[in-house]
Symmetry: C2
Subunit: 346 residues, 2 copies
């Protein structure tokens, strides 16, 4: 958000432009009009009671297509008793049936796409969230995601698997019940390729992974660290595009999320629960988008790319212009955001 204001305000010091070392994008961090959590107006994501129509609540299994995976303590498939359940989207953006056909139309290119679009229902409890569920339950959500990736990548036509979560209406959620989405694509999305290319350029120059270098510098410097565990570090990135943007990064190098072992996934459950609790508390249940950044599924392990999760709270009013131009103005320095989140007493 670029503020246009006519009333008197504080004097501004020299603007701070910062460059993201992976993609090369510049961000203006307006440190002297630094906004604290209380300065933002935002929607609060407080769940309403479940309705009889919610397709993701326990007992409503017939309202979705048959499940492709469920972790359950009891019950038959498509009956209650599950605690994590994965179903195809009833209105998928892409479908598995059919063939990829590429064709031109004058100077344009089009493709009849194949793919998959699935919903990870994170809990049968309509009013829960990843911040309120037990860490072990959140780990199970990641076990389910890993299982689905390992299954879908056997289809060699699928080049990339996109995993994301829209939390709250302002972040694009259309159903309130806690869920994430998985889209398997026959192409690698542009921003993903850009990140892979940027990391590759850094590797060619330094012969080191840029994310490993970031981790080392951040853990030493500590100003932008939100929390750290055996397997993970959560940081507010140096060139944060958004106030209170945080990245969850595995400390051990790996390009593919699906290669994470069970102890790593258990720890990820803990880390994610804690960072979301801190964000919920600091930002009064703000909406957010979370995206899993991982390498293309058909590619082997990469020395230059490092999987991680990016969490972007929606605090500022629309970033239509920023996202369209690739030019960001962030009113909260990541050092302030990290300190605030880190020092919060839960």
């Amino acid at each position: 958000m670029l503020t246009v204001a006519g009333s008197a305000g504080p004097e501004m010091s020299v603007p701070d432009l910062r460059k993201d070392p992976i993609t090369g994008r510049w961000v203006i961090v307006a440190s002297d009009r630094a906004l604290r959590p209380s300065d933002f107006t935002r929607q609060h994501v407080i769940p309403a009671p479940a309705t009889k129509l919610c397709p993701f609540c326990a007992g409503h299994e017939s309202r979705t297509p048959p499940e492709v995976l469920a972790y359950r303590n009891s019950g038959a498939p498509n009956e209650p008793g599950w605690h994590v359940r994965v179903v195809p989207n009833k209105f998928p953006a892409l479908r598995v049936e059919g063939e990829i056909q590429r064709r031109g139309e004058g100077l344009y290119d089009r493709m009849t796409g194949i793919g998959a679009h699935e919903i990870i229902v994170e809990t049968p409890d309509h009013a829960a969230s990843l911040a309120t569920l037990p860490a072990r339950h959140v780990a199970d959500v990641f076990f389910a995601i890993r299982d689905r990736i390992l299954d879908l990548r056997r289809d060699m036509r699928l080049r990339y698997i996109l995993l994301f979560k829209n939390h709250g209406v302002a972040a694009g959620a259309t159903i309130e019940h806690p869920h994430s989405q998985l889209i398997a694509l026959p192409v690698v999305p542009k921003r993903v390729q850009e990140e892979l290319d940027g990391a590759h350029r850094y590797f060619q120059f330094r012969e080191r992974c840029v994310f490993c270098d970031i981790l080392e510098q951040e853990l030493q410097d500590h100003r932008r660290v939100v929390l750290e565990t055996n397997h993970f570090a959560v940081i507010a990135p140096f060139a944060s595009r958004f106030p209170f943007e945080v990245w969850v990064m595995p400390r051990r190098h790996d390009s593919h999320f699906e290669r994470l072992d069970a102890s790593g996934i258990q720890d990820l459950g803990h880390v994610l629960t804690e960072v979301l609790q801190r964000m919920d508390r600091a930002l009064e249940h703000a909406p957010y988008n979370a995206i899993l950044h991982t390498a293309p599924v058909q590619d082997g392990p990469m020395t230059h790319f490092h999987w991680h999760i990016e969490i972007m709270p929606k605090l500022t009013k629309v970033a239509g212009f920023e996202w369209g131009s690739g030019f960001y103005l962030n009113p909260t320095p990541p050092e302030d955001a990290a300190k605030f989140l880190r020092e919060l007493v839960l």
Copy 2:
């Protein structure tokens, strides 16, 4: 917006993936769940009466920094009598004073940035809009923009001038009074560079401007044309990211907006007024973002780049995920959007 739905719905045919010929991004156009204008829930941008606090209304000139340009029929500088007025932003993202200093911080790069941040107040009338102002007045807004670019580009430190408009709160506007913003930057933003690079690759391959090729194909095909005049064509682009996205393209090749001559600017006033009237009518005064795509100001004319204006209505609920991943799902085929806008009787 990716819809997640549990209730019964129509069968979907084969998904249509389309590639943008300039940047190479793929978009899923879900043509069989095509949304018509009435299917969207949106905010309607209906101006409230002007308040005494509005810094951009006539008579309130002292509430802004002194004007850097005004077209006026009467009055002294910073007094009423103007019809277009340009002022520095009171809370600028960048400032002209100071020096560009680049420095490293471990693996990171930062810059103490210089630049300019100005507001183009498009009319003294709080309740007007670019769709309701006379075409000649809208042309004056573009004359003012051209004048500001020609002035600012004399500062050789400024590499790119970003011109954009947020119309309506949902599109990020913080002040209702009709205005556009100008940000002059010491770097070329990432998305701009990406577009320049993409257009350059096409030129290397074909020895023709990709935008000129698009214009030729679109004007012949006609399905995605919204309107055309002597100097301009308005099209719904083949790989539209958003429902009812339109591009205003000059028919004669030029890389730099500021090289447009007076007759071109007069025609641009007409074209923009008409396309915004059609959009206001079709989309019930939807919010929108508009961005001027033009070449870096210090570069000479380019054979491979073609300036244009991109207008993106905000109809779908947040595109946080899409913008973050570079993967778009558009529920309205551009052929349908263009037909709707074209056939509307004003």
